[in-house]
Amino acid sequence: MSAHALTNRESLLAARIREETGVKVAECYQCGKCTAGCPMARWMDISPNQIMRNLQTGDEADENRLLSCQALWHCAGCLTCTQRCPKGLDPAAVMDVLREAARRRGTVPASARKVLAFHEAFLKTVEDFGRMNEWPLVARYKLATGDLFADVLLAPEMLLKGKLPIVPHAIRGREEVRRIFRESRKKEKR
């Protein structure tokens, strides 16, 4: 019996995952080792092995549930799942493809708003300066989330200890970096 006999059909999403990561989701035999080792599993609404399972059924409802779950955004990218998968699959890379898809389809749940806002603030800062700079990153994040008081107590001490440069550093090749962002964004629209 081929592994594919376990599934109804390979969904477009599963095919995309196979193309981008080489992972055949049908090969997951649901041992649960990924979930057992996941440090963030307790903050997830769907566990890592359930994410793999939802990709196997080919059922559109499963897929929609997957793309709107908060678990995708609570993955820390620690690679424990990938390291330990007895089938040599790469759930961490699968999560990356799913996050891209969720963002493209606009299905990121409200409960993951802060995590997404942080990633976006980080990248916008890099796009502007060529590097991450703490002030602009934190300012953008706070404006986007309204979480104005987060970590305000850390800032003065960081300043005193020289861990918070006052003037953001901008690289000479900013235009090159902006080009990289422009060109890479074309993928987000595909």
Binding site: E20, A76, Q83, K187
Partner: protein, 306 residues
């Protein structure tokens, strides 16, 4: 003087400044000339690979291309995340000609693939066995928990020569510093990584568990090579219960520098949130440190005296 390319990465200019200072100090002491890549950009870190694959490869690609153009065959990337992104990009480009072509078009630069990326554990190991061998004159006599976290232990083909479940690259450096590496359970557990601001409660809980296990194993301090891990373990202690508080967290390069008799301030030890003074001052620069240099740090750890 032996030379090595250097990619500090964004954290080392801010929250992770102690890693930059200590790497530069130990390199100088070992006679290694660090050549910083000119006009380097951010590697994209966690944010890029979470949101856009092409970006996650294209940003490190520009860095690698600059290094190659500037004649740097080998580049030290002390930040664990930068290391993982840069070396991972090398691997991905080597595996897929299609990806390499696409990213070359995105960035508009050539890259032949010949820049070798070195992490902080490998670099410190090399210095300890090489240029610093005769300078390790201040054995520190401490019990040290070597914390690898995620990106200095995992990543197939990226972290080489390690058992990902039980890595040991730090052991030789810890011993070279006259310390004893403790055996503990959380050396490769995640600290919560990039969720420091966006999911702080998870970071505090996971990081406290790491520190509690180090304490249970009898460690006087934790050493790490990752600025993200360091800021979570060091700066978040005040939000933790007693199980996590008061454990000094140093960079591996700081430990190495102290064992060479370098000044704690030059290595950045006075910049930590959790006071590392009791470790640094009695053994290496007794009397030179003033209490005011502990800044506003309120955690007073007493290694060995708990």
């Amino acid at each position: 003087m032996k030379a090595c390319g250097y990619y500090p990465g964004c954290s080392l200019a801010g929250g992770g400044v102690e890693l930059d200072l200590s790497i530069r100090e130990v390199s100088k002491a070992a006679g290694v000339d660090l050549r910083e890549i000119e006009d380097w950009n951010c590697c994209g870190a966690t944010a890029a690979h979470c949101l856009n694959h092409d970006l996650a490869v294209a940003l490190p690609y520009r860095v690698l291309s600059l290094a190659e153009e500037q004649g740097l065959a080998e580049v030290l990337a002390p930040c664990a995340a930068c290391f993982s992104r840069l070396k991972g990009t090398n691997l991905r480009l080597a595996r897929s000609a299609e990806l390499a072509g696409r990213v070359r078009a995105v960035v508009g630069r050539p890259y032949g693939g010949g820049v070798k990326i070195v992490n902080v554990n490998e670099f410190c190991g090399r210095l300890a066995a090489g240029g610093l061998k005769d300078k390790l004159s201040k054995p520190l006599g401490l019990k040290v928990a070597g914390y690898y976290g995620c990106l200095l232990s995992r990543g197939e083909g990226i972290v080489e020569g390690e058992d990902p479940e039980n890595p040991s690259a730090m052991d030789a450096v810890i011993r070279a510093a006259g310390c004893e590496p403790v055996s503990w359970n959380f050396s490769t557990e995640c600290c919560g990584g990039g969720f420091s601001m966006s999911k702080t409660e998870a970071v505090v809980e996971l990081s406290a568990a790491v520190l509690a296990d180090a304490r249970a194993a009898g460690a006087d301090l934790v050493v790490t090579g990752c600025p993200m891990c360091h800021s979570n373990l060091d700066m978040r202690q005040r939000s933790m219960g007693s199980e996590g508080r008061g454990m000094p967290v140093l960079y591996l390069s700081e430990l190495l520098g102290l064992a060479c008799g370098l000044k704690p301030e030059a290595l950045g030890l006075n910049r930590h949130f959790t006071d590392a003074g009791p470790i640094a001052s009695p053994l290496s620069v007794r009397g030179e440190r003033r209490p005011s240099e502990c800044g506003a740090s309120r955690n007073t750890s007493t290694p060995g005296g708990r």
